[in-house]
Point group: C2
Chain length 299, copies 2
């Protein structure tokens, strides 16, 4: 399963970066291979200063070896040998009319001393962070999420949508990071086989471009004002706050001495903190804040 999944995300990384390059028409993804002390490595692919994409990363990694102590405590396990592979992406478009998107797909295995798999699970999800509310776009995004789920389990979408709203909650601001999507973890073979879980997770991966590209293409040629760009930069501040204060992946990467530049590829290119910035009442900016304060059903 490990080889099959890593093979899958290698191909997915190539597919997604190729399609995003086509849409961008200017910048190309860099290709940085890195090795991990202790076992494994990854491929970091970064795009910067594009026509459409101001900054983005589509990274894969395949690491294994002794479980770092912080991670062993976190997983609350007696086993010390692990293997983890995953794809992680964050895309920050230049235009404030195109949402930021984040996705993660990962597979984890734990082994006993005889190298036999004793535990295995999938995790991941996909979520959208717009700067303006476009019901049509958000609805489209959630519909694709639901389609990915429904194909495998009619209960998935409701559960994973709620998970997502709970996880991407900027507690210190009492608001969501974005308009959610789906988020799942510890998907273990139980009533479903590991192959069925693999099929679900790869469906989410296969539908990534379907969920995002129509939104990008619809908005990429629409003009925006300096005021809208500034609003995007203020909101990107909230993205930074979530990732540095609350995101488990980031905290974890730092605590386990992960590759800082790969972890921080998620941080937006230009960001703004103004003192007590408040959008005008009844503006489209305040409409966004209203939606984020109270996550809603999109379908």
């Amino acid at each position: 399963m490990k080889e099959e999944f890593y093979n899958y995300i290698q191909n997915l990384q190539l597919l997604i970066t190729r399609e995003l390059e086509k849409v961008d028409g200017k910048s190309r993804f860099s290709n940085i291979k890195w090795k991990r002390e202790g076992g494994g490595g990854g491929v970091t692919k970064i795009i910067e200063n594009g026509n459409i994409f101001e900054k983005g990363g589509v990274n894969i990694s395949n690491v294994f070896g002794e479980l770092p102590k912080t991670m062993k405590d976190y997983l609350n396990t007696k086993y010390s040998l692990f293997s983890a592979c995953g794809l992680s992406l964050v895309i920050h478009p230049k235009s404030p009319l195109i949402p930021t998107i984040h996705s993660n797909l990962r597979y984890f295995e734990l082994y006993n001393k005889s190298n036999v798999v004793v535990d295995q699970w999938f995790g991941g999800g996909v979520d959208l962070t717009p700067y303006y509310i476009d019901n049509f776009d958000i609805n489209h995004f959630h519909k694709v999420c639901k389609i990915s789920c429904d194909e495998h389990d009619k209960n998935y979408y409701n559960i994973f949508k709620k998970n997502c709203d709970n996880y991407f909650w900027n507690k210190h601001r009492e608001e969501a990071r974005g308009v959610g999507g789906i988020f799942f973890d510890y998907l273990k073979p139980n009533d479903k086989s590991v192959d069925e879980l693999y099929n679900f997770v790869t469906t989410v991966g296969n539908n990534f471009l379907n969920s995002y590209l129509p939104i990008v293409n619809k908005n990429k040629n629409v003009n925006y004002s300096d005021k809208q760009k500034k609003w995007q930069e203020v909101r990107r501040g909230r993205y930074v706050e979530f990732n540095l204060l609350h995101d488990k992946g980031t905290q974890f990467g730092i605590k386990t001495n992960g590759r800082i530049e790969s972890i921080f590829m998620s941080l937006p290119p230009t960001v703004r903190w103004e003192y007590n910035f408040q959008p005008t009442k009844n503006s489209s900016e305040s409409e966004l804040v209203g939606v984020l304060k109270k996550p809603k059903e999109w379908i």
Copy 2:
């Protein structure tokens, strides 16, 4: 002591903001009074979009009541009644040739159920975050720190300078936030009386303008390039990383539901994260990084 110290920092806030306004010549500090649920409040004074100061805050607060649980655990105390007052300032100049400065002066009291003081201490310090190394300026800053210390205890400067280097360490980057200064905490009346400690802490406060204004005035009319401004914004990213990932004050403010906009006044106005940004070898930008990687003696 509590009234005396709060009275002192009220006057210091007025003095510092008045003098910074004079230097800036354009923007004025706003004046926001706020109350804390549970007891006390403060005065937040913010300057934005000045000639010299792009963003800055000089805040005071005087809070008291029941110790929040997180804080009680942190202080590891059995007492539940507290009072804390302090001044906290961060100044982000527009020019990358003028360093960012941060200072904090605070006084804490714990009481038993009969409202008798059972513990009391001072904390605080002042530290400098330049974007370029100007040995003359940094030397001047550390000299003023040393003068403040030496007047009260010949050992203070060495100890508090080391404290400062240790505290403002961006562990995940293996580099200091800036070039340090002095940092102290839990200064309790022991071999020194509470009045002697008050005299030390207020000397640090009184010398703030002496330590900073000559640096501002020397550099405020020097031209800088877009490249230097961009470098400042990249480095400001490290300031954000420290404050959100490592700073105890920020973590604490958030955990105890402090006033978010007052806590985050410390965040720089415009910030930049580029993937794996590395300064050119032997440039003045790489000189800064070299100094931050290995904190040095300035006197």
